[in-house]
């Protein structure tokens, strides 16, 4: 199918809900009706109200809200949490309700042979009153339940919808659907807005719920396909997370920054990448947080701004632990060079966390960011959602040229890689593994730079120690093999020389190949 010229020339009206406009490539078709369909609790009413509120706040366009279900006083009260004072907009002559909700206590006897000319007259009246450019109708099902003869009311409502087109208003019409993945709407009202359909979903994902928005179809067809997670935020309302819009396509620079550990910089061939993300993996207590603290402190001490996003420890705990290992996070925080944002993973959905993180980064504009730990965030969500989160976050950091460190806890004390790491290893520029190593009955620590984007690095597992003044990297474990798997074996000392020879020969071959 090719697009006709008329399709291409459909003008869009920016709703003012920025993340939605981004997904809908500009907004809703101007002067048309768009059907917004969703199951109960999918935030249809919030969207319909915000469509009007943003028009008032951003463009000075009046809005008419036709309610078939909730009473205006309930809507006014429910929307206050988003920071929308509908009563104030009403008294300013910008917002008008057409209250078509069932009246409590009013018994109605409905016969045949009626029309909805009154509804249309009321909408028209309200549009004139507030000079409206936008109309929201919420939700069509509430009209159908008020009349017995649904065929008649359907026909009559179609007349109303047609007439709205002549009134030069852009309409958001909400409708119920039974399931999140079924017929577009319960009432078969697609005919009212056949060209433009937006679906809102509120599905169960793991132990939490997940909201998504999908542009099913839209005139002009310049919309982004697929489901985008969104969230409802106090003071903001609808905020979508345009995941597929974020691609890992940013040019990668070769510039390096110090990790804060000199010996580690050397292992990495000169430090971490300026616009790269490092994944630090290890079992509990292996030193991940310490490594990330070194990284942040290094920046903060040298005039950069560093941001720590902590999902495991409170600020106070972090400061105390860091101090015992010789890093003065408290002092750096006092200078304002280090910012700590501490949150419990369970307090919000992953989408909310992502938006919080993005907002913190926009506000603080750090050169370095550490997320400690990803594993804490991974707990309550499905792998797909988690992976989307990582892609979006990583793309966001790269877009802003921020150097990032993610920590990730491996589930087993010895060896092993977590699901997290398998999912995100391809997205990060560098992976550092911290592992416990048992050497003849003694537990020691090993560090390996497992992967590094387009760069030479040390490939040996080196011993490191943690002491009162931080992180110390030493010699490779020559006499232990299979450390990564956790099933070590020790090598006869006389074999070590052979291994060294083999390794040297291999390195020389590599050098020649380059």
């Amino acid at each position: 199918m090719t697009l006709s010229h008329t399709d291409c020339s459909i003008a869009k009206l920016a709703t003012g809900i920025h993340s939605f406009d981004h997904i809908a490539m500009g907004g809703l078709p101007r002067g048309r009706a768009t059907l917004v369909s969703g199951t109960p609790g999918s935030a249809k009413t919030v969207f319909a109200v915000q469509f009007l509120v943003e028009g008032i706040r951003q463009s000075g366009e009046g809005g008419v809200f036709v309610t078939f279900e909730e009473r205006p006083e309930d809507i006014r009260a429910n929307m206050r949490g988003f920071g929308w004072d509908i009563a104030e907009y009403e008294s300013a002559g910008m917002f008008a309700f057409v209250d078509a909700a069932p009246q409590p206590g009013a018994e109605v006897f409905t016969g045949e042979e009626y029309d909805l000319a009154t509804l249309l007259a009321r909408i028209r009246h309200a549009i004139e009153k507030v000079d409206a450019a936008r109309v929201s109708i919420d939700a069509i099902g509430g009209l159908f339940t008020q009349f017995h003869n649904s065929e008649n009311v359907r026909r009559e409502f179609l007349n109303v919808a047609r007439s709205l087109r002549d009134l030069n208003v852009t309409t958001c019409l909400t409708a119920e659907r039974e399931t999140d993945y079924g017929a577009v709407s319960f009432w078969g009202v697609e005919e009212f807005a056949a060209d433009n359909v937006v679906i809102l979903r509120n599905t169960r994902a793991g132990s939490s719920r997940r909201r998504t928005v999908e542009i099913l179809k839209m005139r002009g067809a310049n919309d982004q396909k697929g489901e985008f997670p969104f969230t409802l935020r106090p003071g903001e309302g609808f905020v979508a997370v345009p995941l597929s819009a974020l691609r890992l396509s940013q040019a990668s620079s070769e510039a390096r920054v110090s990790s804060g550990i000199e010996a580690l910089d050397a292992l990495c061939g000169g430090g971490f990448f300026r616009d790269g993300v490092v994944l630090v993996s290890g079992a509990t207590g292996a030193g991940k947080t310490l490594l990330s603290n070194h990284f942040l402190a290094e920046g903060a001490q040298n005039g950069e701004t560093a941001l720590l996003l902590s999902f495991e420890e409170s600020e106070e705990q972090l400061f105390r632990n860091a101090a015992s290992l010789g890093i003065d996070l408290r002092g750096l925080s006092a200078t304002g060079r280090l910012r700590v944002e501490s949150a419990y993973p369970e307090t919000a959905t992953l989408e909310d966390h992502l938006i919080n993180i993005q907002q913190a980064i926009e506000e603080i504009r750090p050169q370095r960011v550490a997320v400690d730990s990803l594993s804490a965030l991974e707990r309550a969500v499905s792998p797909e959602i988690f992976s989307e989160f990582i892609i979006a976050l990583t793309a966001f950091l790269k877009e802003r040229g921020v150097a990032g460190v993610y920590t990730s806890a491996s589930p087993e004390l010895m060896g092993g890689a977590s699901v997290t790491e398998m999912q995100i290893s391809s997205l990060t520029d560098m992976i550092i593994c911290l592992r416990y190593v048992e050497v003849y009955g003694e537990l020691r620590r090993g560090l390996l730079v497992l992967k590094m984007r387009g760069s030479n690095h040390d490939r040996q597992i080196r011993e490191f120690r943690i002491s009162g003044d931080g992180f110390h990297i030493g010699e490779p474990f020559h006499h232990v093999t299979n450390i990564l798997s956790g099933e070590f074996s020790h090598i006869r000392p006389d074999a070590i020389r052979d291994v060294d020879v083999i390794r040297r020969e291999r390195d020389e071959t590599r050098q020649r190949e380059r």
Partner: protein, 105 residues
């Protein structure tokens, strides 16, 4: 067609027993039929003891808003209580009286 249709008998305003508001849509056939039905009802079963406000929604959408009227014709019985509404065809007077909770009289 719009306006107050006085259907009181010889007893004058004080004796009016029934009070109605009838919402209609302009000059439509349906509107004319609704008014005719109400005229017949008042002259007949209601013994001319009724007062009816006929309101054209096109002229007075604000009144329709206040009364939460959606469809036309809509007949609202204001008194005697309880308030009752009938939407649609009013030609069957027995159904109308039943719907208005007036059938016992």
């Amino acid at each position: 067609m719009e306006g107050r249709v006085e259907l009181t008998g010889h007893w004058g305003a004080l004796m009016k027993t029934y009070s109605f508001r009838l919402y209609i849509n302009g000059q439509s056939v349906r509107a004319a039929r609704a008014i005719e039905s109400m005229r017949a009802l008042c002259h007949g079963p209601l013994n001319d003891l009724a007062e009816i406000d006929v309101i054209d929604v096109r002229e007075h959408p604000g009144l329709a808003e206040e009364d939460h009227v959606l469809a036309t014709p809509t007949l609202i019985k204001l008194s005697p209580p309880p308030v009752r509404r009938i939407i649609g065809d009013l030609s069957n007077s027995r159904d109308v009286l039943a719907g208005l909770d007036l059938d016992a009289e």
